[in-house]
Symmetry: C2
């Protein structure tokens, strides 16, 4: 692809820093400029060295940029967009990486100046680590990124952003923001809520010590602790901004759990066996489609 | 340690075959004999070659063995023990690897002949794969195994079994069967039930296709699919035999989930943030104690 002249990354955590690493690897921008509201994060980003320039002034960061990507928690999107909007160049693409798209569209949409192409996006990739040191160039390789173009979005700008995400290593799908929010509620938001919840339950049991939970975690519990170690601010904001879809899938989850609970109580072995059998096929498909490792225990060392 | 003369492994799935591999690695027995009720499994075990002899006759398998380990699903323990009991040598140790200990004690205990040392055990280790091809020598390395000696158990026999599990690579802890069942209910049984449940919920949503669930599973969902791919028979039997402890921790889990659900509904960001913050410490301790990988995403390739 034809590289962007200036890529401005607003927010230098795991995703922002990974975009910088991957954009440099793919030669997707002639200049990569980073901004963060935290002087400490900026200093640490400088030490890692993934950007050509770092700006504490958000206006300076986005000035003359032809691609600006907001990589802040969903709850911080509006303030960041308001601060940078007056400084956006005509013809620039303004995008984001927020895990909720409905709220981002309604928060940022009205702030976008005429002549700027606002095209939200969301890479379905991450790790349990946070901060500018956590990023790496291969984070998006083979994963999917979802672009949610608003009605009437400029087709050329959408194509440019799609090329950019493909250049970062990602596969790309276009989707409606509301559908995105429902899909992510089941594939990401509910799993995180459940993981946080079970870790909390284990933490609070009086009859089992925390030391015991830790020692015997290889029985299955440890799998949940990974995503329950994710960034609390990011996840608070996801749940505050995708309430309806999360409550919808939580309701379904609870209905299903009632059925399993009843089967345990009644000793209904046939129901349990049948339930536990049909779930294997999804794992198989996820591995076949390259979205997880086939090695036992995720290939952990 | 002084090797056993003859180790008989009853049931040649993931755990049974891993014990054989690890016992051979550690030279823990002069002879390793395997038995399985399935001729197909026996044939596949022969092809892998982890035993010195394979016996379809359970009596021949345990005759003269000084260590016999039942590696069948919890629900199959009683029948297997009844079949082999008359053939046990005086002074032999009879043990098992069942994930529930209360039911194993009450099912097997009364069947054990005088002069045989019945000492239940449970290695907290496994993968999502099943069958005689799934075993490997390092499965127990660094993991914990729990031994639950009955009241009045022979101290020498307990010490021998402890040495054996240490020889397999494991750390060993002694515990009361009832406490074991509660500890495992939170560290293993509830995580599996929740994982099976969420995969089922995703499977049944009409508004999100299975293809979408698979494509975007890297958002967190895929972490649950690993343990939801575990052996259905084994897990059915666990839930049928540890009903009380599972219902107890399920009740706690549901109480906690009600609080999180209410916080999502009310937009209580402070509660969510505080909840999501305290769960990080457990992950950190699990990694520090060598029970999980510190690499991002479990170090998946």
């Amino acid at each position: 692809m034809e590289p962007f002249n200036k890529l401005a990354i607003i927010g230098l955590g795991l995703i922002g820093s990974s975009i910088a690493h991957a954009a440099r690897r793919g030669k997707l921008a002639k200049q990569i400029v980073g901004h963060d509201a935290s002087a400490d994060v900026l200093k640490r980003a400088r030490a890692v060295g993934f950007a050509d320039a770092l700006e504490f002034d958000i206006g300076a960061a986005v000035a003359d940029a032809d691609l600006v990507i907001l990589c802040v928690p969903v709850g911080a999107m509006k303030a960041a967009a308001a601060a940078l909007a007056p400084h956006l160049a005509k013809g620039a693409i303004l995008s984001d990486v927020g895990g909720v798209k409905g709220s981002v569209v309604s928060d940022i949409g009205p702030l976008v100046p005429k002549g700027v192409h606002f095209i939200p996006a969301h890479p379905i990739a991450g790790t349990e680590f946070s901060g500018p040191e956590a990023g790496f160039a291969t984070l998006f390789d083979g994963r999917w990124s979802i672009i949610t173009p608003p009605p009437g979005a400029d087709a050329g700008a959408v194509a440019r952003l799609k090329e950019f995400w493909q250049g970062l290593g990602s596969q790309v799908e276009l989707m409606d923001p509301a559908h995105h929010d429902l899909v992510l509620a089941i594939t990401s938001h509910l799993p995180h809520l459940i993981a946080y919840n079970i870790v909390g339950t284990a933490h609070d049991l009086e009859a089992v010590t925390e030391g015991e939970v830790i020692k015997y975690s290889a029985g299955g519990f440890r799998d949940f602790t990974r995503i329950a170690a994710s960034d609390p601010t990011m996840w608070r904001d996801v749940f505050l901004n995708n309430r309806q879809a999360v409550l919808e899938v939580l309701g379904r989850f609870n209905e299903d759990l009632s059925i399993l609970t009843r089967a345990v109580r009644n000793g209904d072995g046939k129901l349990l066996f049948d339930f536990f059998t049909r779930t294997r096929a999804i794992r198989k498909a996820i591995i076949e489609q390259g979205q997880d490792s086939a090695a036992p225990n995720f290939g952990r060392k």
